[in-house]
Symmetry: C2
Subunit: 497 residues, 2 copies
């Protein structure tokens, strides 16, 4: 009886978050501009009521009375709910309100600072964000390092001390590769990436392939445009992805397939966890492993373009004129050090992340002063990518994360990259999956992912999931091997010892 009441209550909380999510999606894709002010109030009400309902005394009573939960389904609901309830109740309302206000101010200051490339405007707000992060870590609690408490919110169970050696390994074994690639020079004609491609045709092609290759269908999903692409969902039968159309057409195509990876993960969570906290991906890192797998490991592969080149030629003959699948494959796999994270290729991307991880860790510990951050940023950029930003807008001010209080978030991007290859290699142990991938037929792989990753939702921690699905803990080895093999071949490098 108590379990039924608990589930009813969790359903209500889930419905409130779904409504807030729909309001946010609507704001980014449909809403008339003048509605923004009231929409902000409405979303705050929904988030506040959801938090209140989730953390009130009755929820605590029901959770206490639930014991371990009967049967696997209920046991997971109790376990995950208890974990999230515990975290949610550790932050006093006064702290949450202070943080919300400060983040709002920091976000506006950041928008302004980035526009004028003026770090000094943002600096006091970043100080405040770091102060809040330290206090939040203390409130949430940790064993080894305050960073762990923050990281745990996005990657349950992960610690800075686990991330550091993995990142160091990745850095040491891919930085030499990057330098050899840069020395080797161009491997294709990259001007094809900005050939004319009608916006509607870009979106339609990306969407059709998202369905044909990856299983995303309009009966349970839809595609819209927004300034920044994202995936959101209000149930496993109501998935929304967005895209952005640019002259650089790969942004729309690969962005769509990236969001498709996120969407198909949510689609695959077992229905019996619907409207409970279990019914979401295990972590940001595991989520990113799915989006990066679709975007990079599959859609930036040779078999993919051997299969989809003719379809592309049909809808974008100007793009494919004079090209063959191999030329296109090489063009969309350009490795090129650049200043902006979101535009980075598979190799340089992780250096953008390592840089941010190292700096936010140093800031949190107080080893690095906020006022010295731009200099530290630029020094790392020079060290890793051989570049120096001409201004802070293209350097330390480029990302939204820190201005929104998201400290401990960045590592999950690279953890996702690593896990994407680790999972794919595990899946390819099945010969039918490996054979399918060679023909860009992903049905067997999708079934494996649903079975080994998606269905579990948050019922497994990322560590449990990784161990169970791949037979080992998180490792950078497969990812490093993948980069060497793929880009060594594209750039004609001899294997190194």
């Amino acid at each position: 009886m108590g379990m039924e009441e608990l589930k009813r209550r969790l359903g209500q909380v889930s419905d409130l978050y779904a409504a807030a999510g729909l309001m946010s999606w609507d704001q980014e894709t449909q809403m008339p501009g003048e509605a923004a002010r009231v929409r902000g109030l409405q979303m705050a009400t929904l988030a506040g009521l959801a938090h209140e309902l989730f953390t009130d005394a009755r929820t605590a009573e029901l959770l206490a009375a639930a014991g371990e939960g009967q049967g696997e389904t209920d046991a997971a609901i109790v376990r995950v709910t208890r974990r999230e309830h515990d975290k949610a109740t550790r932050l006093p309302t006064a702290f949450v309100e202070e943080a919300t206000r400060a983040r709002n101010e920091a976000h506006h200051a950041w928008l302004e600072a980035r526009k004028r490339s003026d770090f000094a405007t943002f600096a006091p707000h970043l100080e405040k964000m770091m102060d809040l992060a330290r206090r939040e870590a203390d409130l949430l609690g940790y064993e080894e390092h305050p960073y762990d408490a923050l990281l745990d919110q996005y990657e349950p169970g992960m610690r800075a001390a686990q991330v550091q050696p993995v990142f160091a390994d990745l850095r040491d074994r891919t930085l030499p590769l990057l330098r050899r690639i840069v020395a080797a020079g161009d491997a294709a004609d990259y001007s094809v990436l900005t050939r004319p491609f009608a916006p509607e045709a870009q979106k339609a092609f990306a969407w059709r392939v998202a369905g044909e290759a990856f299983g995303l269908r309009s009966t349970f999903a839809r595609q819209d445009e927004s300034a920044h692409p994202f995936q959101t969902n209000f149930s496993r039968s109501d998935l929304r992805i967005t895209t952005r159309v640019e002259d650089y057409w790969p942004a729309c195509l690969f962005g769509t397939w990236h969001e498709t990876g996120h969407a198909m993960y949510e689609r695959g969570v077992a229905p019996h966890w619907e409207r409970t906290p279990v019914s979401r991906g295990a972590s940001l890192g595991v989520h990113e492993s799915q989006s990066r797998m679709f975007e990079n490991l599959l859609a930036r592969s040779r078999p993919f373009w051997e299969r989809y080149f003719p379809q592309l030629a049909e809808v974008a003959s100007e793009v494919t004129a004079g090209l063959d699948p191999e030329a296109l494959y090489r063009a969309v796999n350009r490795v090129h050090p650049s200043l902006i994270r979101v535009e980075a290729d598979e190799i340089t991307y992780n250096f953008h992340i390592m840089l941010r991880f190292e700096l936010e860790l140093a800031l949190l510990e107080g080893r690095l002063k906020v006022q010295d951050l731009p200099e530290a940023w630029n020094a790392k950029m020079q060290e890793y990518l051989g570049l120096t930003p001409p201004d802070d807008a293209q350097g330390v001010l480029q990302d939204i994360h820190w201005s929104s209080g998201l400290i401990g978030y960045f590592p999950t991007y690279t953890l996702g990259n690593l896990l994407s290859v680790q999972l794919l290699e595990a899946a390819k142990q099945d010969p039918s999956i490996a054979a399918g991938i060679k023909q860009a037929d992903y049905a067997p792989l999708l079934a494996w992912l649903a079975q080994n990753v998606h269905q579990y939702g948050r019922s497994l921690t990322p560590t449990q999931l990784t161990q169970q699905a791949t037979g080992q803990g998180l490792t950078a080895d497969p990812y490093i091997a993948y980069l060497h093999q793929k880009y060594g071949e594209i750039y004609g490098l001899e294997a190194e010892g």
Copy 2:
């Protein structure tokens, strides 16, 4: 202090209803089909939480402590909230739940019954709807007639005994007119109404004119397609109208301008009532007066087509080929008895309403048995419009209302028609308004409506509003005179005594 808490609470209730409204809009216009089941649960949660918050003990305490409210703005908030709180708390939760379930079942039975044109399937559910309506009336309370308690939910303060003589007057003075028109025969070539008009062009033209003529702008409103056109809004800066495109192109055009009337009413409510129960139209009837004014009195007028005919010709040359504004004006003002309410013209429409009003009153009183309803329906159709439905799908089963428990709703459509002319005549006392209308320049009229109707929201009752804006109570005279003048001229009838 208590007033601030009351307003905060009313804001939360309003936000929950806005979220439920957005979920509903999304369901009708955007949502992937498979999402319907969970969306139903989500909307039920939001409506339930809104009702709970609005009717709980704390709201009652705050209302009791508020007294009359200080200043006009707060006084109206207290007055309207008290009225709605009073009604909301008179229906016990057990009754609301029973009614919700029964209406849901009745709705599904009606869909099935209409599809098979099988009244017997629906009959027991209609019995149940009438039973619930009688009990609801008893719970809500009334002085003269149970129907009054139901009607009051849609048209505050209106009573059956006030509707009856007005409707009788309307019937007695327009039925002879209708018969003379039918005898006179066609006044134009009506085949132009189904000439080819590309769907996107229909919507674009309707939307552009909604902006140019009536002031609806994309900065605070948007247009979408849905199976059944409607207007909804989530704040006065977030108005949504929908339309439906058919071969019969007036459906999209006049439907859009109809919903524009609803939207501009909500747009005009004074901003200081934002997120309170005052911030909605005074009643369904007053709402309908605005939509019908735009749709019929303005958009079906000669000056309107003199002004917009050239724009129509630009985007739909096949429609306007060989026509002049006068021919188009006459074509869109066809009077033609037909079986279906939503397709009816300005004269016959009200007979569809009178018929329903008379029948639902008789059912509620028990004078008419549900089993005898189809026969009674068909007899009235013959009496008023000279037609007999070939089956119940085109007769008694055509409307959704009774299957959703909406008893006492229909009269508001005709009350709106009557009030539309009464208000327009009052506005035209101002010579600049009258002069504007003759050139299809509605800016002066829109300003008058904002000043005399829109701004008040629910702070005035329909009766107060009508009295204040027109100097008299509701009367059918102006509407009847309007029909005689307009259609007497179109159909070449001599004036009668």
